[in-house]
């Protein structure tokens, strides 16, 4: 068989296939499996955001669990207030707090909660991003700082039990906008909303990546100093894309908490945060589809393995990190693309940004590596 397709056509075809699959899934899957898939799709939204900053811009954030968690907590605070029917949430009275804290008040309105669930992660990301990128703090240093952000946020959330629910987190919700959350029809609706958000995010991210902005992001990844010399300010672009991806993580948090019905500090810890990076790595860096695939496949594998062999899961997860980095640096989608290219199934623009960069990096490293220029 000899196929010959352009890149754009393939992308459109894949988007349509993905959309059709997600719409058809409720017909094939049991209620339990469907709720799992709904959560995985929420994760896919985070993965797309991470792909934009890591795959395209080359910033490795180990702190996306925090942004996801903040979004989820904002939504959960609203749900908790609804479930308390105007009284003080139960965990607050256990901790001896008598009046609703002021920062809980805006969350009485669902619209404000949704808005804040996206804006709060963006604000935190802006602070961390601006203050580090501005000083040209290097890639790995930033990763460490973002990981420290995870640690302190988790300790803060666990420690301030009266305000955040402590280790148990927030749970026991009953309804959202008057819809009972335990009804199958509501759950199905949340699933469809998630599916639509995934498609919308996919289109938005594809558009961003192929726009002029996306090209500058790739340029920042491959040669930040040269971008600066040409006259762009990389800080603006990095901060923008970092906030954008934090906002996506917050959005994913909203959708996650609506379907899962619980949020706790364990979901935003160090391990979940770094697992998010693995989704992108497995699916394929700098391919938006790869992020979705990676998130769904990795989590499906995690669910089935940890059901069957819980004690072996960490070893398998660890091995996946090593294998992907050593043998599959382009991930599933990147590797498939490469195979397809070799067989000549593509025409027109065929090289993925990552491939172009891995060749460019050989020469670039020499003039940006401090060990050489010192």
């Amino acid at each position: 068989m000899h196929l010959s397709l352009s890149n754009t056509k393939i992308k459109i075809a894949f988007t349509l296939v993905l959309f059709a699959l997600m719409l058809a899934a409720p017909m094939f899957l049991s209620e339990f499996r469907l709720s799992l898939l709904g959560k995985f799709l929420a994760y896919a939204i985070i993965a797309m955001g991470l792909d934009l900053i890591w795959g395209y811009t080359g910033i490795l954030s180990l702190g996306h669990g925090v942004y996801f968690g903040l979004g989820a907590y904002c939504m959960a605070m609203h749900l908790k207030l609804v479930a308390s029917h105007g009284e003080l949430p139960d965990f607050m009275s256990w901790s001896g707090i008598e009046k609703l804290p002021a920062f809980w008040l805006p969350f009485q309105s669902p619209a404000a909660a949704i808005l804040l669930a996206i804006l709060v992660p963006m604000a935190v990301a802006f602070l961390l991003g601006y203050l580090t990128f501005r000083n040209r703090i290097k890639g790995s240093f930033f990763s460490i700082l973002s990981q420290a952000l995870v640690i302190i946020t988790v300790t803060l959330f666990v420690g301030q039990q009266g305000y955040t629910g402590g280790t148990n987190g927030l749970t026991n919700f009953d309804s959202f906008l008057g819809l009972s959350m335990s009804e199958p029809s509501t759950k199905l609706m949340f699933y469809y909303i998630t599916a639509f958000v995934v498609i919308a995010t996919l289109i938005l991210c594809q558009w961003l990546a192929s726009s002029r902005l996306g090209k500058i992001l790739v340029a920042v990844r491959d040669a930040e100093n040269r971008v600066r010399f040409i006259g762009y300010n990389p800080v603006t672009y990095k901060v923008f894309i970092y906030c954008f991806s934090a906002g996506l993580a917050g959005l994913a948090g909203i959708l996650f908490v609506l379907q899962e019905g619980i949020v706790s500090p364990a979901q935003m810890g160090i391990v979940p945060s770094i697992e998010m990076v693995l989704w992108v790595a497995i699916g394929g860096r700098a391919t938006i589809f790869g992020a979705i695939l990676g998130a769904v496949i990795t989590n499906a594998a995690k669910t089935s393995f940890s059901e069957a062999y819980p004690e072996w899961w960490p070893i398998i997860l660890g091995a996946m990190f090593i294998v992907v980095v050593l043998f599959l640096p382009k991930g599933i989608v990147g590797t498939c693309k490469e195979l397809a290219e070799k067989r000549g199934w593509f025409q027109g623009k065929t090289r993925s940004p990552l491939q172009a960069s891995s060749q460019a990096r050989v020469t670039l490293d020499n003039d940006t590596n401090p060990a050489v220029t010192k």
Partner: protein
């Protein structure tokens, strides 16, 4: 007054542990630009070595000699962590030079595997290591100020380690080779230094230091498979704060974080203290983005 001094002492004691951990990190990061997330697991290996040797002593050695097990376990912990570090460098790390973020992910995978292996070998619950008798008790300075011998021993151990590292780095052939590679890899290689071997040695050496740190940690409290994760992020912060390339920077970074952490945790609360220290570090980096002490360079990045 006594209370204040005690807090300061606790701060220095925490600093000394962080320093032991961070020294290895600073070397591998400065030399190879590799972020070793599995460093915490070398702490864990060292701690379990101390535990194993204690068990062996209790079984096979007369009770009178029990006190000596700790000295032996420091050596064994270093040797085992050194060997595993060498193995890791040869089998994995050397394929990842020039890809710092990838090395971070791969070593994270290694750390997950090592933690789970420890869980399967030694069991998930924490185990306690009994300190030798000569470390029980403390130095009584005044009524309200007693310095535990254990903590004093750790501080002494760190001082000894730093002196050894200093002598090695600046006054031995191997250490000077390491400095040369750190400063200019290409030129060092041209002058006949085997950079491959220097890398492997440095990585193994850093891992060995983490093993000693793990051994010291058994004096502080019970140990478990995930003991490394408690300290590793703080240790990385020490490296970020202290800067790369000179021992003195790491020492200053460790002292800063250790003392500030203890001070703020004492005056506010354990959770708020961490938040304040992190904010201070970010604020400090606004002023000195590459840390307290750095080697001077005209490079852009």
């Amino acid at each position: 007054m006594g209370l204040l001094l005690l807090q300061l002492f606790n701060g220095i004691s925490l600093s000394s542990i962080l320093l032991l951990i961070a020294l290895g990190l600073a070397i591998t990061f400065g030399l190879m630009n590799v972020i070793n997330m599995a460093h915490g697991e070398f702490i864990m290996i060292g701690a379990y070595m101390a535990y194993t040797i204690q068990q062996l002593f209790q079984k096979f050695v007369p009770a009178s000699a029990f006190g000596w097990y700790f000295i032996l376990s420091i050596g064994v912990a270093f040797a085992v962590a050194f060997a595993i570090g060498w193995l890791l460098e040869v089998t994995l790390i050397r394929f990842l030079y020039g890809r710092p973020l990838d090395s971070l992910l791969a070593t994270w995978g290694v750390s997950l595997v090592l933690q789970q292996l420890a869980r399967q070998i030694f069991g998930a619950p924490n185990v306690a290591v009994k300190a030798p008798e000569w470390l029980e008790g403390g130095l009584v300075l005044s009524e309200d100020l007693t310095l535990p011998y254990k903590r004093l021993f750790i501080i002494g151990l760190v001082v000894v380690c730093i002196v050894i590292i200093y002598l090695y780095q600046y006054h031995s052939r191997g250490g000077r080779n390491m400095q040369a590679v750190m400063q200019n890899r290409g030129m060092a290689s041209c002058l006949g230094i085997s950079t491959r071997r220097v890398d492997a040695q440095a990585f193994a050496f850093g891992s060995g230091m983490a093993g000693i740190a793990g051994c010291a940690l058994t004096l502080v409290g019970p140990i478990g498979p995930s003991i490394g994760t408690y300290y590793i992020v703080d240790a990385f912060m020490v490296v970020v704060l202290g800067g790369i390339g000179k021992i003195i920077g790491t020492v200053a970074g460790a002292l800063g974080i250790g003392v500030l952490n203890t001070a703020f945790e004492y005056t506010t609360s354990a959770t708020l203290g961490k938040v304040i220290v992190f904010t201070l570090i970010i604020a400090f980096l606004q002023w000195k983005p590459s840390g307290l002490v750095t080697t001077r360079s005209r490079a852009l990045d």
